[in-house]
C-alpha cells in the first residue's frame, strides 16, 4: 500500500494533461505490487471492482430495465426474447422481469447500503471512540456505558427494532434510509470500542504531549495527531464491516422487513426463489453467488489489509 501512496504523491507534482493518466498508471502499479504480495488481496480487490462497476454502470450493462414487467414472460428460460424487449440473459422471474438486470441492480442496492451504513457507523464510532479515549474520566465512563448498552442487543434484533420503529420513509436508488441507519447503529459500538482501544495507546506517545505543550487545542490534537495514526485500524474495520452490512441488509430483506419487495435486493430475490427452486434453480443460485462473492471480496480485503498493516497478526 505504501507504494500506492508514494506514486500518488509523485503524480501530484506532474502538471497538465498527463496527470490523470499518470495517476491511473500509478494506481495500477500499486495494485500490481499489492497483488503480488497478497494474491488473495488482489483477487478480493478484483471482485470488489467488478461489483462496483456492476453497481455504477447497471443501466449500461443490462439490456432490459429491471422493473419492466413483460407480460406472458414469467419464468422465461435464459435467452428468451420478450415482446418489446431484448434478450433476457438469465431469463425472467415470477412476474416476467429481466432476471439478469435484477441481479446486476442488486449489486447497486448492496453497495449503497453497505458503503453508506459503514461510513455513518464508522464516523460516529470514531467520534465516540476518540472522545472516550482522549478525555477519559467521566466522559469515558458514560460513553462506554452507552456502548455497552448498544452492544447488549443481539445485532439482528436491534436491526429489526430500529427498522420497525423508523418505518420505510426515505428511499434512495432503492436503498431505504431506515435499513441504512439500523445497520449503522449496530456498527457504532463495535467501531467505538476498537477506536478507543487503539487511540488509548496512541495517546501515550510523546508527540501528543509535545502538541499539548505547543498549545494545540483538543480538537487539533485528536484530528491531526491521533486520527492519522488510527486510520489503518479504521480502514481494516471498514472492509469487514461492509461485508457484514451487506449480510444484514440481505437478511432483513429476506425476512421481509428490509428493502421494499419490488426492489431488486439480493435478499428479496432469494426469498422469492425458494418456492420455485426445483423448477428454476437459477433464481436462487445467481443472487446467492453474486452476494456471497461480494461479501467474500470484502472479507478477504480486510484480511489482506490487516496482514500488510499489522505484522503482529501475520499468519494467524
Amino acid at each position: 500500500m505504501r507504494e500506492i501512496l508514494t506514486e500518488v504523491r509523485d503524480v501530484g507534482r506532474l502538471k497538465g494533461a498527463a496527470a490523470p493518466f499518470a495517476l491511473v498508471w500509478g494506481w495500477l502499479g500499486g495494485f500490481w505490487s499489492f497483488s503480488k504480495a497478497k494474491p488473495l488481496g488482489g483477487i478480493s480487490a478484483l471482485i470488489i471492482l467488478v461489483m462496483a462497476v456492476a453497481a455504477i454502470f447497471a443501466p449500461l450493462i443490462t439490456p432490459n430495465d429491471p422493473f419492466t414487467i413483460f407480460f406472458g414472460s414469467s419464468f422465461a428460460s435464459p435467452g428468451h426474447v420478450p415482446e418489446g424487449g431484448r434478450t433476457m440473459i438469465l431469463g425472467s422471474d415470477a412476474v416476467g422481469r429481466d432476471f439478469f438486470a435484477r441481479v446486476v441492480y442488486g449489486a447497486r442496492i448492496s453497495m449503497i447500503v453497505g458503503i453508506t451504513s459503514v461510513f455513518i457507523g464508522l464516523a460516529a464510532g470514531v467520534a465516540i471512540g476518540l472522545a472516550s479515549a482522549f478525555y477519559g474520566g467521566r466522559i469515558d465512563l458514560f460513553l462506554q456505558r452507552v456502548v455497552d448498552g448498544l452492544m447488549a442487543f443481539p445485532a439482528l434484533v436491534l436491526a429489526l427494532v430500529i427498522v420497525t420503529v423508523m418505518g420505510s420513509g426515505i428511499v434512495f436508488a432503492g436503498a431505504q434510509l431506515n435499513v441504512i441507519l439500523a445497520i449503522a447503529i449496530i456498527l457504532v459500538p463495535l467501531a467505538a470500542r476498537v477506536v478507543r482501544g487503539t487511540a488509548l495507546s496512541v495517546k501515550e506517545n510523546t508527540y501528543v504531549d509535545a502538541a499539548k505543550a505547543l498549545g494545540a487545542s483538543d480538537l487539533e490534537i485528536m484530528a491531526r495527531h491521533i486520527l492519522p495514526n488510527i486510520t489503518h485500524a479504521v480502514i481494516i474495520l471498514g472492509a469487514t464491516f461492509i461485508g457484514a452490512a451487506i449480510i444484514i441488509e440481505a437478511t432483513l430483506s429476506f425476512l421481509g422487513i428490509g428493502t421494499d419487495i419490488t426492489q431488486p435486493s439480493w435478499g428479496n430475490m432469494i426469498a422469492g426463489a425458494r418456492s420455485r427452486f426445483e423448477a428454476e434453480p437459477r433464481l436462487l443460485w445467481t443472487p446467492a453467488i453474486a452476494m456471497s462473492l461480494t461479501i467474500l471480496g470484502f472479507n478477504l480485503l480486510g484480511d489482506a489489509l490487516r496482514d500488510v498493516w499489522d505484522p503482529r497478526l501475520r499468519g494467524t
Binding site: 456505558r145 452507552v146 455497552d148 448498552g149 448498544l150 447488549a152 442487543f153 443481539p154 445485532a155 439482528l156 434484533v157 429489526l160 427494532v161 430500529i162 420497525t164 420503529v165 423508523m166 418505518g167 461485508g243 449480510i247 440481505a250 437478511t251 429476506f254 425476512l255 421481509g256 422487513i257 435478499g267 432469494i270 425458494r274 427452486f277 426445483e278 436462487l284 446467492a288 452476494m291 456471497s292 462473492l293 461479501i295 467474500l296 472479507n299 478477504l300 484480511d303 499468519g315 494467524t316
Partner: protein, 321 residues
Amino acid sequence: MGRYIVRRLLLMIPTLFIVSLLVFFLMRIVPGDAVDAQLGQAAAAGGGVTPELEAQIRAELGLDRPAHIQYFVWVGNALQGDLGNSLQFKNRTVWSELRVAIPVSLEIAIMALIISLMIAIPFGVLSAIYQDSWIDYLSRIISVGGLSIPDFVVATVIIVMPAIWWGWLPPLGYVSFFDDPGANLVQFILPSAAIGLRFSSTTLRMVRSSMLEVLRADYVRTARAKGLTSQVVIVRHALKNAMIAPITLIGTSIGFLIGGTFIVETIFALPGVGRLTLDSISNRDYNQLQGNVLFLSTVFVMVNLVTDLTYAWFDPRIRYS
C-alpha cells in the same frame, strides 16, 4: 474470584438499565401506537371508533400517564416477571407466549453449537498441527467461504437440496422433544445444521489461531523435550489451553446464534422466539415485541457475563487486571 464476580455483577446493572431505557423509548417512537392497533381491531369488529373508546383503551393500557411513570411501572413489573399482556391475543400474556417459544429456540441454539464445535475443533486443531498442509488450506478456505455465505442462504439450500435429491422435506408442525424425541430430532437437525455450519467457520478460525499460539509456547516444547509422544502433548498440554479463547467466542457469538434462530425458525416454520418476534412485528403487537427484545438482550448480557467469568476462572490474569 469472589470480588471479580461482584464487580462484574454490579457493572451489569447500568448496562441492563440502559437496555431497558432503549427498548422502552424506542417502542414509543413507533408510528401508530398500541391504541391504534386496538382501535383498528374494534373497527374491524364492527364497533364505532369514538374518542371515548380511545380514551378508555388508553387508560386501560396505562398510556394516559406520563412517559417516565409508564417506564417505571413497566420495569417494576418486568422485574417481577410480568411483561404485560399480549395485544394480539386478549387473554394471553407476553410471558405465556414467550414461555412456550423459548424451549424451541434453546434447542436449536444448543444443537447448532454442538454441530459447530464438532466441525470446528477437529478441523481447527488439525489445521494448526499441520500448518500450511492441504488440510490447513482446506480448513481455511471452508472458514473464509463460510463467513461469506449468509446463514439464510445456507438454510435455504439445506432445505431445498434434500427435497430435490430424495424428495424429502423435514416434517412441518412442531413436535416437542418430550412427546416424541425421534421426530423432534429429525425436525431440528437441519435448522441446527444450517446455523452450526455457518457458525463453525468463525469458531474454526479461532481454534486454529489459538492452537498455533499454544503450540509455540515454551511449556509445549518442554513437554516434547521430556519425550512425551506427540499425541499426549497435543491432547493433554496444548488442547486444554487452546480452548480458552474459543470459549469466549461462543459467549460473544450468542448474538449470532440468536440471529440464526430468527432465520431458521422462519424458513423451517418452527414456533420459537424468533418467529414470535417477527410475528409480533407484522401484527403490530408492541407489548410482545418489547417483552421479547428485553428478554433476548437480558439473555445476551447474562451469557456474556457467564463467559467472562469462565474465562477469568481459566485465566487468572483477567481477574487482576
